[in-house]
Symmetry: C2
Subunit: 344 residues, 2 copies
Amino acid sequence: MRATLIYGAGDVRIETVPDPELREPSDAIVRVVRSCICGSDLWPYGSRPATGDGERIGHEFLGVVEDVGRDVSGLAAGDLVVAPFVWADNTCDFCREGLQTSCRHGGMWARDGIDGGQGEAVRVPQAQGTLVKLPVGEDSALLPSLLALSDVFPTGHHCAVTAGVGPHTSVTVIGDGAVGLSAVLAAKRLGAERIILMGRHKDRTDLGREFGATDVVAERGEEGVERVRELTGGDGTHTVLECVGLRPAIETAFAVVRDGGTVSRVGAPQYPDVPADFGVFFRNITLTGGVAPARAYIDELLPDVLDGRVQPGKVFDRTVTLDQVPDGYRAMADRSALKVLIQP
Amino acid sequence: MRATLIYGAGDVRIETVPDPELREPSDAIVRVVRSCICGSDLWPYGSRPATGDGERIGHEFLGVVEDVGRDVSGLAAGDLVVAPFVWADNTCDFCREGLQTSCRHGGMWARDGIDGGQGEAVRVPQAQGTLVKLPVGEDSALLPSLLALSDVFPTGHHCAVTAGVGPHTSVTVIGDGAVGLSAVLAAKRLGAERIILMGRHKDRTDLGREFGATDVVAERGEEGVERVRELTGGDGTHTVLECVGLRPAIETAFAVVRDGGTVSRVGAPQYPDVPADFGVFFRNITLTGGVAPARAYIDELLPDVLDGRVQPGKVFDRTVTLDQVPDGYRAMADRSALKVLIQP
């Protein structure tokens, strides 16, 4: 089959790789119907050293089950399924607590001999725990929003949930990428009435307004902080959803959060430390968030996607074939695409 | 009157200062019956530059009301009262939310012309919001535990509450100072069944066991981390209460917390940043805590102190007169005293 490999910064290739086969009785084979490129794929795309060895890449996909191992029940060939971006048995103590990203028998796609999502097919370990059956056909117009359940929408949701967003919390979302916009949508869905979106790409913040943002702050740094403070009577917001992952973003987060409030971060951190000095301490700021256990949220979010109450798939603004994946990376890296859908 | 001033590292003096007088209608004058030295007083005692100017110091006291301004109701001359370590109006939005440390009209003792607690008397701003009346006489044997409501016990309690300690959470407490031991007592009171105390002073950890610690880890650094991991099947504990304030302690906290768990810190941080790299992010660790809004907790904790169910005053292992306060600082700094009570 064909799949995407990354060889180094800016160097993504489509190559022929071995077809996936069942290895463990808990495996399934899934033919990929839709995949996509994640903002987090842009970190290695921006900086991976060129080693001469390609690595598989991609961790978001939905597809059709082609075969299942003998220990997999509840799934059969022909089922349309979505995979969360970390695979898990969904039965261990961490999974039962809703932290499938720390599953005792789980792991990451495109690592340690596991297929990546940006290819024609995937061997899915722990298939019964990992895959979620979708009650639509592979021609459904809902596929983009259903694919968003793999990562980007649950990630925004995790950010909002761990921050404690609800009807009585004001919210600042930092970042107008696909995750930031998903966090706006999630905050709105959880009842937030005041959602300030910090972002400077008008086409993106326009989608943010459609998703529920009540205010947009295009300024950055000190000026952006002042603007959020102005909008909130000087206090900042109860919650801040940090959806970038860079140090200036997390610094802004601490600067615009209200005393006693919560900063949640879901942007994969490109920094070793966060500000936590006496000022932060005196203001009783909580820092939470992390990698989203998407599997924990899919059951809750799926009905809203199926009935069209939320349309997280609107973050996809370009579709490519597998051969065009390198163009997709370029488009996301140069910000001409928000998020790229792959139709293999 | 006489009061304690700090002139520089290691230089604490008892001097005559102006008697406090009512200035605002919301003030009260309190004659100090008991005060004490805080672990946080040791930071300036260890490092304050000598400037030739002395500053008042001390933020924990209980005493007898001598006079009240015309806007103060519910308090009268002769009442025994305890003061939380930050004064506050107890009516603003932050106070109503239980965050009196961020009160819009509050502030710190021993700053900006406000008296410190380590003296013979104090002018108390926002007296009605700040002071809590105690239903005992100034000869009560409960005074040490009632004084502990000023700071050290609510600080341990805040650490446990913000960490989410309850009957089903395992706990590691880092630090066997008075705050760490108070955190053990608070965690036990909140129902924790497994409380691992990291500390290496046997007399202190013995009190920790009396307060509810089920395990003591005397090792520090990597060895201490391994020991906690051994005790918890490799996982670490759901909550970690960091009661030191130094970078190695917060690093240990992140190393011994279970995936999805919470680190709460109440040791005044002597570091600008905390570890928050991809590993912490992937493990979904929350960092919370901060300066304790003691006023928010006194009403809840007071009944347990009055009926003897908790005895937080056991952290006091030495009593000094006002003249002996410099000896008290030395004793706490060289660890020969755990926490020093002052009887002016």
